[in-house]
């Protein structure tokens, strides 16, 4: 088995699935109907991307696990998503901030992955890039409205930025798994995505009239299965039905 590629497919698939699941929690709770629909639509895109990556991960592993087995029958320590994806929704400003920071990273990452030497990764990236570009624009517009809005909305956006900023560093860290794939042209060094991400984030923050938070603290570990306390609760809900009825079929 190509263990580095398996890990990498899990990292990408898990990040999309967990973020998509978080967004789906807004279904029926959005501040206005259009945003309720928007968040559910974005969740669908992300879960769709996750299905493609997890199906591929299962094929690479070659032990008969399909997308459902990987999504519903893995415990917390086996998840490889970025920690930012599992952070709770908070208020609407927090959800949009988390979404923007991740989507801006996904845009740069998938743009690079369309040139991957792995055909399957390149094909999924070419599909996903169209979707995450929309996501980034949508969330970015909200960043501007909230930051340059009322005192209340501005305060909430600033709180959210400080809350999530420390989780973004993990997105740009290269480890042995990815170094192996970089050498084979499957992906690019994680830190090489940072300048373009910085530029996109800075541009939106400037429009939103807010300052970029300082890099005072950072949390990492998701890529290796070390998560915040929030992931376990999320999985307990997401996995409860398939675990209670493991043989259930549609």
């Amino acid at each position: 088995m190509d263990s580095a590629l398996f890990q990498y497919a899990l990292r990408l698939g898990d990040t999309s699935l967990i973020l998509g699941h978080r967004l789906s929690e807004w279904c029926g709770h959005g501040p206005i109907l259009e945003e309720d629909i928007a968040m559910s639509n974005i969740a669908l895109d992300l879960i769709g991307q996750a299905r493609m990556f997890l199906t591929y991960a299962g094929e690479i592993e070659g032990e008969g696990r399909d997308e459902d087995a990987l999504a519903y029958h893995r415990n917390e320590r086996d998840w490889r998503n970025m920690i930012i994806a599992e952070q709770p929704n908070g208020d609407f400003a927090a959800t949009m901030t988390r979404q923007f920071l991740v989507a801006a990273w996904q845009v740069e990452l998938y743009t690079a992955l369309t040139r991957s030497t792995d055909e399957r990764v390149a094909a999924i990236a070419a599909k996903a890039i169209k979707e995450v570009t929309y996501h980034r624009r949508h969330a970015g517009e909200w960043m501007v409205r909230l930051g340059d809005g009322t005192e209340e909305s501005r305060t909430r956006l600033l709180d959210a930025l400080v809350e999530f900023w420390g989780y973004t560093h993990e997105l740009f860290e290269l480890d042995a798994v990815e170094a192996d794939l970089v050498a084979r042209g499957v992906t690019v060094p994680a830190e090489s995505l940072k300048p373009a991400w910085d530029a996109a984030v800075n541009a939106v923050l400037a429009q939103a009239t807010v300052d970029r938070p300082g890099d005072g603290w950072s949390i990492r570990g998701g890529k290796d299965g070390i998560h915040s306390e929030h992931l376990g609760y999320l999985l307990a809900e997401m996995q409860s039905v398939p675990r209670a009825y493991p043989d259930a079929r549609w």
Partner: protein, 176 residues
């Protein structure tokens, strides 16, 4: 038989006839979310191959998470088996990624007829993707003064607009 002269190859002729028949059968399969459109109109059928009693239909998803894809796959199976073939395989390919440029001209007219504005321009320019706002005409009264209400509409592939002239809200099939 010299290579490259398929007209003289009776097997190839039969296969072509059979494939044309399969395409015709697939014309009856519609998008469950926009039932005026056939999957042919949508441009998601990438290839149809027949081999004796077996048909292989290759499709590509519109959006990664489009919930209609599973149903479309089932409908393709039903249609092919219902038309008398013994076996059918539905293969999904991701590359090249689907684009609204593949929507047929007929499909665009059908969209208008049910009050959905078809995609404006070509996805190749990527203007739509990177923030350039297209001029979307109202499918009800034809006015070009319309306002985007939301980037996301009733399905993944649509955005929500309102006509400033007749004030009717409408769906716009996003350019992707």
């Amino acid at each position: 038989m010299p290579a490259g002269s398929p007209n003289r190859n009776p097997d190839a002729a039969v296969a072509r006839h059979s494939e044309a028949k399969a395409w015709k059968v697939l014309d009856a399969v519609v998008d469950p979310e926009i039932p005026v459109l056939t999957i042919g109109d949508l441009g998601i059928i990438r290839d149809v191959k027949t081999e004796g009693d077996r048909v292989t239909v290759t499709i590509t998803p519109t959006y990664s998470g489009c919930p209609a894809m599973n149903l479309i796959e089932m409908q393709i199976r039903d249609a092919i088996l219902g038309a008398g073939w013994a076996d059918v395989a539905v293969v999904t390919v991701l590359s090249p990624a689907w684009t609204t440029d593949w929507l047929s001209a007929e499909g665009r007219e059908k969209l208008k007829s049910i009050g959905i504005a078809p995609p404006v321009g070509s996805a190749g320019g990527r203007g739509a993707l990177f923030g350039a706002e297209p001029t979307v005409s109202c499918p009800h009264c034809g006015a070009s003064t319309t306002t985007k209400l939301s980037e996301f509409g009733s399905t993944s592939c649509k955005a929500l607009y309102r006509c400033d002239a007749c004030l009717e809200p409408f769906d716009y099939f996003k350019c992707l």
